[in-house]
């Protein structure tokens, strides 16, 4: 589904991704862990198409297409979804209007008719219930006045409505209490299928108890320095990143 080869990217002359490789296939769940500043969000942003970053080397194929040929909205329409670490507040645009506009763009891309109002409401209500999202939040402006946890929930709600092929979750678990974490994880798990894949960025093993990864990668200084199965996350939880850092210094 996604192939990243030797990805190098920088922002304002600062090299952040330094030769990153990753292969994600349909049906898989990958987790990326790594210390603050190692480049996890940068990777997510580059994949989603944020223009502040300059890709200096490497390539990314998404469903066989060169990702960098596509504008951010085209990537989204092709089925790439980023749940933001810091969801943006958009005053004056209601959540529901936003979702409807987005969904109809995707449907248009697929050559489908726009949703009728009742069809759309049905879908939205079903997914809101799945994520335990208050109906009142649908009519509110996008993320405006939402608590940290509500913002994260809203991201996963959007994910549930849009049903992308590849979902990147950037620290969706941070700031969630344990109940919210369970709801969000259940939501994600219920969306898992053989046709889609998840890339979960997190600092905490806690999340991986609920969303169980097939692979765990450790990112350090712009590269993936170690990959393993879910045991790797447990190891990290216990020993921290020091062993990676020491290894790096040793190399």
């Amino acid at each position: 589904m996604l192939t990243i080869k030797n990805l190098n990217a920088r922002i304002e002359e600062k090299e952040i991704l330094k030769g990153l490789n990753l292969q994600i296939n349909a049906g898989e769940v990958h987790a990326i862990m790594g210390p603050n500043g190692s480049g996890k969000s940068t990777l997510a942003s580059v994949l989603a198409g944020r223009e502040d970053y300059e890709v200096t080397d490497g390539e990314v194929l998404f469903e066989g297409k060169n990702l960098f040929d596509l504008a951010p909205e085209e990537r989204a329409r092709e089925g790439l979804f980023l749940a933001f670490q810091y969801p943006v507040e958009i005053p004056g645009v209601s959540n529901i209007n936003f979702m409807k506009t987005a969904m109809n763009e995707i449907r248009k891309h697929k050559g489908e008719e726009p949703y009728s109002a009742p069809e759309f409401m049905k879908l939205v209500k079903e997914k809101a219930a799945l994520l335990g999202l208050d109906k009142e939040m649908l009519s509110r402006y996008v993320n405006v006045g939402f608590s940290g946890g509500e913002k994260k929930r809203n991201e996963i709600f959007q994910l549930a409505v849009m049903q992308p092929k590849l979902a990147i979750l950037d620290e969706t678990d941070s700031g969630l209490d344990i109940d919210a974490l369970k709801t969000v994880s259940n939501g994600v798990n219920s969306l898992k299928s053989d046709n889609n894949a998840f890339l979960v960025i997190t600092h905490y093993q806690r999340l991986l108890n609920y969303i169980v990864p097939d692979f765990v990668h450790i990112m350090y200084d712009g590269k993936i320095v170690k990959s393993g199965d879910k045991e790797l996350a447990l190891h990290l939880e216990e020993f921290g990143y020091d062993f990676i850092k020491n290894q790096e210094v040793g190399v």
Binding site: A76, V88, E89, G92, F98, T101, M162
Partner: protein
Amino acid sequence: MLKEILIKGFEKFNAGLNGEADNPIHAIRNNAFALFEQQGFPHKKLEDWKYTRLSKLVQNEFNIPDSASIDENSVKPFLIPELKSNLIVMVNGIYNKELSDIKGGEEYFIGSISDGAEKYPDLVEKYFAKISNFTLNPLSALNTAFAREGVMIYTGKNTGIELPVYILNLIDAQNSLPIAQPRNLFIASEGSSFKVIEDFHTIGSNTNYTNAITEIYCGKNSNVEYYKIQDDSDKSFHTGSTDVKQERDSLFTATTISWGGSLIRNNLNILLNDENIETHMYGLFYARNREHIDNQTFVDHAKPHCESNELYKGIIDDNATGVFNGKIMVRTDAQKTNAYQSNNNILLSENATIYAKPQLEIFADDVKCSHGATTGQLDKDAMFYLRARSIGENEAKVLLLNAFASDVLDKITIEELQAHLRNLLLKKLKREL
């Protein structure tokens, strides 16, 4: 030059007014014109005219039309859909009875200012050209000199006009280069209320000029809502002043929407003449291509315990220019004043320009006043967020700008008008209009 055309035009116009010497409107014409003749059009050396130059205006060979008629079918496309109103159609600044449709009522008057002067000479004498001080403003003097068939609204004590008064100003620029000088007088007696819309449109593709004055008197405890909508052609010049005087316990709301015209200059002057007055000023302007839109507001707090609240939003694209100058005066007597002003502008292109200037002059010490002005581009993070959810760049832009403008459109209390303007805004943002 335009001034010479006006001098000749005034002689002819004045000669045609024989027998109206008793009319209170007529009595001050000569004085007003003399003042205009002496001062001429405002020039850029005047502080208030620094950013708005009339040189492109005055070089035109305009005509002063003495009468104008258009057929009903050419009015229809401009009407606000679904709106039930007291409709007044003005053609080239002149009240057109055939095209107007006034529901009428015992307790109020809606009609031409000359009919009003016959029916209520004392009222006209008392208020006409008293709220607008033409000695300070040559454009107001010019309008006063030519004032004749504008609109008068008068509501008696504790009455109201059920349907909004909808004044559709059409300027007919099909065969000539017309000047229109609508002159309106609205008087709300104690405890009365009404809503009024002034909507400006152009027919035809010639250059044209509107110089408009509206005077509004808000009596004690009255409630007046005033809307000015400018949707003229890219060959239209508009200079206009809305001058308001509010008495004790009154509530006045002005909403000014400007999004069509080659050059627009609006003055909104509000005098808070007694205690416990509430005033709201909302504005939205959207300037594109080479348009120039200038809004000058002046709220004059003369007495204690009043509140004014101002919100102006501007979107400027292409090579267009916006000007916002918001002056708040709080005089020595005006203790316990609350005065708020906020002006936010979005520049959509590198060649778009905004001159924004808040001006607070506070002479009382126990007051709450604040102002905030921001100018920026579209929020990049919000744009990316929308695009990352598959919304195309243009669509995302429209969504954000529409949201930006909503703060102002949300305030409109006439539902049909609000829906109409929302719809127009979307079309304009999508460049369908």
